[in-house]
Subunit: 81 residues, 2 copies
Amino acid sequence: MKAKVFVTLKPGVLDPQGKAIHHSAELLGFGNIADVRQGKYFEVEVNGGATAKEAREAAERLAKDVLANPVIEDYKVELEA
Amino acid sequence: MKAKVFVTLKPGVLDPQGKAIHHSAELLGFGNIADVRQGKYFEVEVNGGATAKEAREAAERLAKDVLANPVIEDYKVELEA
């Protein structure tokens, strides 16, 4: 079972990488892009025997303890059907 | 209008970063994680005047030209309602 984990900076946390991408996009002629924020994306494969509930719990725990820094980042877990 | 862009390594492309995360997770006692692959995630804010079609086109173009390396990476664009 596959879980998708999205990690994004909390609102208000500065994102210099996103700003740099936005600036480059402007220089390249992308006039209608107002803002870019960069996050991280993980595809977590949980062992086959796990139920959907167990898979979600494992992915949530991994996201909280390993993938995200909860001080400055939010995370979201989605299970793939 | 906000577009979400997911960039993932193509299947078959080695992902040492994902492997390192998987290995760390195992050392930390996450026994039921079979695999981890790392990608990138971007939230692209398109200027307000754009229609949904224009916003998607702008985000697709940005993903193809700036955010992803089409030789080794796939990308996916989702418009937020």
